[in-house]
Amino acid sequence: MTRARSILSPFMARPISMVALCLLAFVVFGAVFAPLLAPYEPTAIDPINRLTPPGLAHLFGTDQFGRDTLSRVIQSARMALIVGIGVVVMALGAGVPIGVFSALFPRFGLVMMRLIDVLMAFPALLLALGLIVILGPSVFNSIIAVAAGFLTTTTRIVYGLTLRLKAETYVEAARSMGAGTLWLVSRHILPNLVSPLLVQASFVFAFAQLSAASLDFLGLGAPPDIPSWGNMLAEAKTFITRAPWLLFFPGTMIVLTAFALNLMGDALRDRLDPRFRDMMGGE
Amino acid sequence: MLSVENLTVSVGPFDLVSDVSFSIGRGEILGLVGESGSGKSMTSLAVMGLLPRPGPSIRSGRVLLDGADVTPLEPWQRVEHGHVPMAMIFQEPMTSLNPVRRIGDQIIEAVQVREKLSVAQARVRARELLEQVRIPDAALQLSAFPHQLSGGMRQRVMIAVALACRPQVLIADEPTTALDVTVQFQILGLLRRLCDELHMAMLFITHDMGVIAQLADRLAVMYAGRVVETASVGAVFDAPSHPYSRALMDCMPMHSMGKRRLATIGGQAPRPGTLPKGCAFAPRCSNLRDTCHHIPPPRLLVAPGHEALCAYPLVTEGVT
């Protein structure tokens, strides 16, 4: 119970973070139980009722095919969650090993960090676009494309943190006693990385929403038959004057989700302050 | 020149400094000693008007500068009101100087606060100040950046900055703690000399009894936010009245010479907000009586100019 307390404490300190947490819980809940919550089939076409404004029958209105916007918005939450988690797993899953080993093996590290520097010369979205061109548009590929953009910063952060941890006297002491590298990593380095990585994960999750939505909007991410907020906005573009609700609801969901995740990241980071603030280059 | 009366600094419900009083005349050096956390730095910041906002604030008491009440005023307000100049030097000379500006500019800035001088004139004065603190190649060093100087030199620069406003009171908060022993000696000598030449009142804060012995005329010993003893240096060293001062004396290595173990004071100083009833030092006192745990100690005048905050002050044989 006290463990749950300590995890929740940074949020309870600020009321707005509690709001953010509830918002996220709400989105996750919606995503998981989408089929049960949606009043209509997200793909069900109903041409008679096309482009109806929000009302009793359709709380969020309908789109140009008569599909219920509310249902599609709820269904899209799934995509948001899948993509978000996928990007975090990939960015951290690649960034952490590369960062840690770069710090522990200086020669490898020097080369690797140089490569990372070069990669950073490619603006995130262009990098994503390039990868989509090579790999072809799909949900999975959009996850890879977006994750690539976060790989560089994550690796850098992990590299910096590991270097500092390596320089801590207790690590030097352990090494002088003959501790093996793997043992060092698992016992001293990884546990200390958990908290800052959690913060990083929140921000990556947040900005992944925006990047993925942009890719979807350009038609280069999720295919049109899978509802996602970005897709919905792409379709809404043609009808914004006639049906502004098509613009409002999916967009607001993206904003709320990203905002909530950003707030969560902030709250988590404040909890770690000041130990890791300088290491992460504060913000 | 500087008189502090019943100063209490608190943050929230906790008192960091309680009922502190002392006074310093011109040309006199008062040492404020105590362990870390005893409230010495907080006292000095409060006297200077530099308490950080938001944060601790002066709850009661007064700070009188040449008779004028400057208690609530920050340094810039004191300048505006035309009060007597007071300056302060800090412990870490590296971080106390702006790293991206030349030291000449930082001294000129200080000079121009109180004197209407052109930049050229201020520059001349800055050079004079550097010479006064015995920095070689003063004219050259004006264009130097802080990181180009050694620790001792930086501290001299800090002193020069402090002297820029022609202060009549100088507060030195552990200025030599971060320096090598040899440099320490030089800086202390410089401070003593400046104090005599410029007839300043100086408040010197330290936790190092050896340092204060060389420099100060009088001592105020602080413990848990209170002044527990005030006396001349000689009196405190030879005949301390408060058990805490006595314990501090015993801890000094040279007093322990001949014995096998260095003396220590058992236990820990109480943190703000956790002060026991009665005397704050009672849990660690060697001269403990029953009443000490329940009744706050009175401030007794043990001898002329010698006070102790203790109900049962120590008496040393053969000393008046």
Binding site: P123, V133, G136, G282 | F90
Partner: protein, 315 residues
């Protein structure tokens, strides 16, 4: 100082070379025969062979790279499949729009982000500060294309204050007044980045305010405002300026989406169109140009950082 610049330039060139290798590999990573990718599916085997030989694609990869690099250094970025014209022409046509858009956006970002961040820091803890920080975080969480669409809806359609799409050059009829076509797009692009700069300025100033030398400045008797300008702001600026390079990169990226939403004839929209047209040489050329621009901007930022902060040593 000079040796610092030389070393940084060499470092940049090295990064450029490595990046060029990656970009060169781009076309070869795409599924399919590069020649048919470039010519399209309708090419005849003879055309394919001719192109293959002329581009030296029958040579080992290393030689191909050198040939390609040589062509690039002579300003030949290949031929656009869609436009049947040199890639450089297509890029040049879009350059004016994108450049003006980026510049205007940078102006907004600095004008909005830095002063407001400063105010928020000075009024730290007050309602104003919390409100501004909240708004800033909200803005940073908004997708640019959505802001753009809303802007169009509100300002172009409903209020009819500004045009919603297109951009006639300022060298044509209308002159500088044509910049109003860039107003909505630049504000759209500026919003989330200004929010980030705002938060960075604020955080940086709060960090600096806690430093010992600020306390020394106060002890000197300096009035509050000079303390802020001469010590806090100037030192906090270092961190903010170094973020400008990164901000510019983000701009180059997000401009892609903004130009698409506002139908601006810039390089960003060109990228999207080329992806849809499978015009790979254009995509490759644009990425190369953008990377070069980004590396140069970063170099400039690094050097100006050194000018501002005398402590910085070579990496």
């Amino acid at each position: 100082m000079l040796s610092f610049i030389v070393k940084r330039v060499l470092s940049m060139l090295l990064s450029l070379v490595v990046a060029s290798v990656i970009i060169f590999a781009f076309i070869h990573l795409i599924d399919g025969d590069p020649v048919y990718i470039m010519l399209g599916d309708t090419a005849t085997p003879e055309q394919a062979d001719a192109l293959r030989r002329s581009l030296g694609l029958d040579q080992p990869i290393f030689v191909q790279y050198v040939l390609w690099a040589e062509r690039v250094l002579h300003g030949d970025l290949g031929t656009s499949l869609f436009f049947q014209a040199p890639v450089t022409t297509a890029i040049r046509d879009g350059a004016e729009t994108s450049f003006l858009l980026a510049s205007l956006t940078m102006v907004w970002i600095v004008l909005m982000g830095v002063p407001i961040g400063m105010i928020a820091a000075m009024k730290h803890g007050s309602w104003l500060d919390q409100g501004l920080s909240g708004v800033a975080m909200m803005l940073a969480s908004v997708p640019t294309f959505w802001v753009g669409l809303n802007m169009i809806l509100i300002f172009a359609v409903w209020l009819q204050w500004f045009p919603s799409s297109g951009y006639p050059s300022i060298f044509e009829d209308g002159g500088l007044a044509n910049l109003r076509y860039l107003l909505l797009p630049s504000l759209t692009l500026a919003a989330p980045n200004a929010a980030l700069i705002l938060r960075l300025t604020r955080a940086s100033m709060l960090d600096v305010a806690r430093e010992d030398y600020v306390r020394t400045a106060r002890a000197k008797g300096l009035k509050p405002w000079p303390v802020v300008t001469r010590h806090i702001f100037r030192n906090a600026l270092l961190t903010v300026v170094s973020a400008f390079g990164f901000t510019f990169a983000a701009l180059l990226s997000e401009a892609v989406v903004t130009e698409t939403v506002f139908a601006l004839p810039g390089i960003g929209r060109l990228v999207v169109q080329s992806i849809q047209n499978r015009d790979y040489p254009v995509i490759q050329g644009i990425i190369l140009v953008v990377v070069v621009i980004y590396l140069v901007i970063n170099l400039i930022v690094d050097i100006s950082y050194r000018l501002l902060d005398p402590r910085v040593e070579l990496q």
